[in-house]
């Protein structure tokens, strides 16, 4: 990545921020795994509505109803909300003391919005409480926010990108449920892993190890940049293929390994494909 970025790095000495970035990346890894469990259990549509959960506010859905496929999907949504919060904090932290006024303003706006929402929609008290609660937390946090110097601009841009990506992920996940489109699920799965990589990169760029790496002084005579770019692109293609396979439930379309239906290259004629698809039917269907 240093070869690709080819920028000089300003040392950041905020150890707590470094640790927090690692923690956020680890939490995201857990979220990606939980998302995988949702697909493995075929529970992606076990909660047919969004952003609510069977008509309840996401955060107030009774534990007694976390049954069957709902358990996996609901845990995934809660975990995603947590990672969203962690990422927001990370993005703000990278701005250091400059985040304080933003937090005060955003907190005030959210508290006001919560109060107005409660007056206009009294039946949605839970949502009003949530809005006001978030606003209050942000407002109070502004007074305790770290007074550190902002991170280098490029790192702050990565932080904002991470924030925008996690918001997009939330929306994509919700639209996947409401629009019933497999393509959205595939994009959601691929973007999840790219988001995880982004957080890992933010954590890595703040480590002492990374900051001690020498910047490349010579021209790339051996075309390493091209080589690494191609390899990275191929990995991305594999991620997309994997996400497509998973969301079309084709994971067991070929039951043997390393052969495929006993051959190096399986029969791909129409009759053979029909037979393979017949075998792919759910065991209990």
């Amino acid at each position: 990545m240093a070869l690709l970025l080819n920028v000089s790095l300003t040392q950041t000495n905020n150890n707590w921020l470094k640790r927090y970035a690692v923690f956020t990346a680890l939490a995201t890894f857990v979220l990606v795994c939980v998302g995988g469990l949702v697909t493995s259990h075929g529970a992606g549509l076990a909660v047919p509505d969004w952003p609510n959960t069977y008509g309840y506010n996401l955060f107030f859905f009774p534990i007694s109803k976390w049954i069957g496929g709902v358990f996996f999907e609901h845990i995934h949504r809660l975990d995603a909300s947590l990672v969203g919060l962690l990422t927001t904090i990370l993005a703000l932290w990278l701005f250091g003391y400059k985040s304080r006024p933003l937090l005060r303003w955003a907190g005030g706006i959210f508290m006001a919005a919560g109060a107005v929402f409660c007056m206009v929609f009294p039946a949605h008290a839970a949502e009003s409480l949530l809005l006001s609660g978030v606003g209050l937390a942000a407002f109070v946090a502004a007074f305790f926010w770290p007074r550190c110097e902002p991170a280098p601009k490029w790192l702050r841009v990565l932080g904002v990108t991470a924030f925008a990506t996690v918001v997009m992920q939330g929306v994509l996940g919700g639209l996947r449920v409401t629009e019933l489109k497999d393509q959205l699920g595939i994009f959601h799965a691929t973007l999840a892993q790219l988001f995880f990589l982004l957080l890992c990169a933010i954590a890595l760029f703040q480590t002492d190890f990374w900051q001690r790496l020498p910047v490349q002084a010579e021209a790339d005579r051996h075309h390493f940049r091209l080589f690494f770019s191609v390899i990275t692109g191929l990995i991305l293609v594999q991620l997309i293929l994997g996400a497509t396979m998973r969301h079309q439930h084709a994971g067991l379309a070929i039951p043997d390994f390393p052969a495929a239906y006993g051959k190096l290259w399986p029969d791909t004629g129409a009759a053979a494909i029909a037979r393979y698809n017949q075998n792919r039917q759910e065991v209990l269907a």
Partner: protein, 243 residues
Amino acid sequence: MKKFALLLSVVVLAGSLQLSLAGDVTGKITLKGTPPPPIDLPYDDTCSKLHPTILTTRFYVVGKDNGLANVFVYISKGLEGKKFAAPTEVVELDQVTCNYNPYVFGVMVGQPLRIKNSDPLMHNIHALPKVDGNAEFNFAEPSQGDINDTKWVESIKAPEVMLKLKCDVHQWMFAYAGVQDHPYFAVSDADGNFKIANVPAGSYTLTAYHLKVHGAKPGESKDITVADSPVTANFTLEVPAPQ
């Protein structure tokens, strides 16, 4: 007055002739071969309380004299160009003891399907059509007594054999609908018997389709001719060889 009486008589006679030139198509579906044993459904704790004995898959329900249940029998050719009004009679699909009842059913395009939750826990109803013109849908019925009479008719506009419905909360729950644009279909009963009533006189292709016997294949067909007496059409379906 005389002319009116004469006209009325002609109309009544024509109607009677029409009725008398229709017949019932009956038959029995028999299974040949030994089907694989049923699989116990992996009920969770909540569903186990509703049904203390273990329920199994309903892939091959074999009754008296090897009669095979849940075969969708329908006229697949011979009705082209004819239009039939959808009946107003409501077909009911119930979710009870964490299972769909019935497992296989027939319904006409435009005929109302009542989807009901008789369980004291939540289900979602997720339809997965494959035919163009039929829209996928997924909605919740979180409480006992929830009923939906409109979603099916709003979403399903074209014939399809078989349209899968599932519950994503309970991974073992499936039902299958045979959707036709005419009323001449039936589902074989526990002993493999079926009856399609009042089929108009004519020559047709009758098709019998079973989920596991036929899978991706179109089902077994035979030609029949309906005149003014009942027609019997029996089918013998064979358990497919393991792949």
